[in-house]
Symmetry: C2
Subunit: 331 residues, 2 copies
């Protein structure tokens, strides 16, 4: 495979440039005219660490790489602008495989209004992607950082959690075998696998939360326990989470039972749900809920509150504290 | 090695944020307030393809990765702003090795006024880096694209070429053995190895050429023959190059003789010199020469001219055409 031939095939598949792009892929650099401020994030994904080629199609891998990167922009409340793709191509991924991977990536780019403005392709021993994404806002203060949570704020979560970890468990144990016969079980299992393989970055929800006045926000890539910890550390605040209020994805309970685990443990420690955790003043809660539902058709659930101190407490209905961890997840 | 521990060690080594950075590494995304327009480029480097760990120290690898990326900004005439680093760490590169690699990268960042504003670190089977760099200008038209060369323009080259390819040959044949006894030969060989291992992005020269009115510009990463071809294609122009005028780095002739190759062939086909090739109106030539010398202390040499047609002709003193290619180079 010639690098230049592949680049030419890639370029001819790129849609027209976005509104801020003065010069797209093909020169030494892309030229853009940003809005007032930009949010920029980089995500690297490696075969065997963040995805497994045995479990995911090239298109799903491309989708997931961009989704993981865009999720960071969602957590800033940014409007997605441009993405830059570095791709390491192993000997056993042919040119058509690369184009399929790019197809998955481009489909999500189209859905989210993201322009692929540049990139680099190289030979590699194993498949890797590094996605740099740039989001925009009128000014720097329009973005939501991790550091603004204050005691008294409500702690809210978009959508449902545990689905990606449950989907991974299904993928690992099914090994490609068809799901159970009952149609409902099959649909549920399929939805869980999709949560793992083709996550949705919560861009609309993130912008809605930013507009509604979220004081701090983070996306759940490592799992609720870990990511809540990052937000608590950055804000210098305590997060008290009511485990019973955690919105579990349909089917997580069944997967947990089969794995002899607690559903709440999966929900608190399973990563890659890419939902958003945010703090917001209680009197903004109602407005935020309807804005998130309108933007993305998903629920916003209050799961706890911000308190004095630094750290995270996830309290079970019986009063014990949940110690998240130990459930299998991709890094 | 814990990812978060390594990230913490990396972050504490990052210098203070640059002037455009509102929020640096450590949140979901970095927040910047760009100038009027940005130029963004991505470069991926992989062990065994763009460098070899057997031939280069971790610090040299970090330097080269950032240098290759910044060279693209130099070719736009951009002022370097921020860099984002995705790093794939193999099992046999320990935390201290990662910090040494980052040290080489940070030293060049400091020299060039580049801020490391974010990044991602992951496990990988082999060492890879993907560098995204963002450069700035007051507006999009201040950048120099590849497409503006017009018949009648002079074709100019910064510095000297062939050095990086000759240095690679020395590194491969020396295999770590000490250079010849004569001090001068040793110094010359050392300089060639440095050209290969620690290239200098021509940022000052690029900005000087942009200010002097360069009509098109590209950096020589693949080699003069190939990169001149890209510029010719983008501009829809012909480039007529006088081989005798090519400025060879000191010592290239000796390495070529030892390898039984023509020095001019090394100069035309050897990549990774990261010098700048530009077109400019002949009446701007003198001004451009002194601006490049003042900015970077290197020569600007006219090596040919832009003519009608599309393509590149490199003419030898005896009238034959040089067909570049075939000399070993890293990709």
């Amino acid at each position: 495979m010639g690098e230049f031939e592949l680049l030419a095939r890639i370029r001819e598949r790129l849609p027209a440039n976005g509104p801020r792009i003065h010069l797209g892929s093909g020169d030494d650099a892309a030229i853009t005219v940003p809005d007032g401020a930009t949010a920029t994030s980089v995500d690297a994904l490696v075969d065997g660490v963040h995805f497994r080629r045995a479990l995911a199609s090239p298109a799903q891998i491309g989708h997931k790489a961009l989704a993981a990167a865009l999720s960071d922009l969602a957590a800033m409340g940014a409007e997605p602008g441009e993405a830059y793709v570095a791709l390491g191509v192993p000997p056993d991924l042919d040119e058509d495989g690369c184009i399929e991977l790019l197809g998955g990536l481009l489909a999500l780019a189209r859905e989210t209004g993201t322009s692929i403005a540049g990139g680099d392709v190289t030979r590699a021993a194993e498949l890797f992607l590094a996605l740099t994404v740039v989001g925009h806002a009128p000014g720097p203060d329009a973005f939501v950082e991790r550091s603004g949570a204050r005691a008294g704020d409500a702690l809210v979560l978009t959508g449902e959690i545990g689905g990606a970890a449950a989907g991974l468990r299904l993928l690992e144990t099914d090994c490609g075998v068809d799901p159970p016969t009952a149609q409902s079980a099959s649909n549920q299992a399929g939805a869980l696998r999709t949560r793992q393989l083709e996550p949705t970055p919560r861009i609309g929800a993130g912008r809605a939360l930013a507009a509604a006045g979220a004081t701090a926000m983070i996306d759940l890539s490592d799992g609720l326990g870990g990511d809540a910890g990052h937000l608590a550390q950055s804000s210098g605040a305590g997060l008290r989470i009511d485990a019973a209020s955690l919105p579990l994805a349909d089917g997580v309970a069944e997967v947990a039972a089969a794995a002899q685990r607690e559903p709440l443990d999966i929900a608190a420690s399973g990563g890659e749900d890419y939902e958003l955790l945010a703090s917001i003043a209680p009197d903004r809660l109602e407005q935020a809920e309807s804005a998130v539902r309108e933007a993305e058709g998903i629920a916003l659930t209050q799961i706890g509150e911000v308190v004095a101190g630094i750290g995270v407490e996830i309290r079970l209905p019986d009063g014990r504290l949940l110690e998240p961890g130990g459930f299998d997840q991709l890094a």
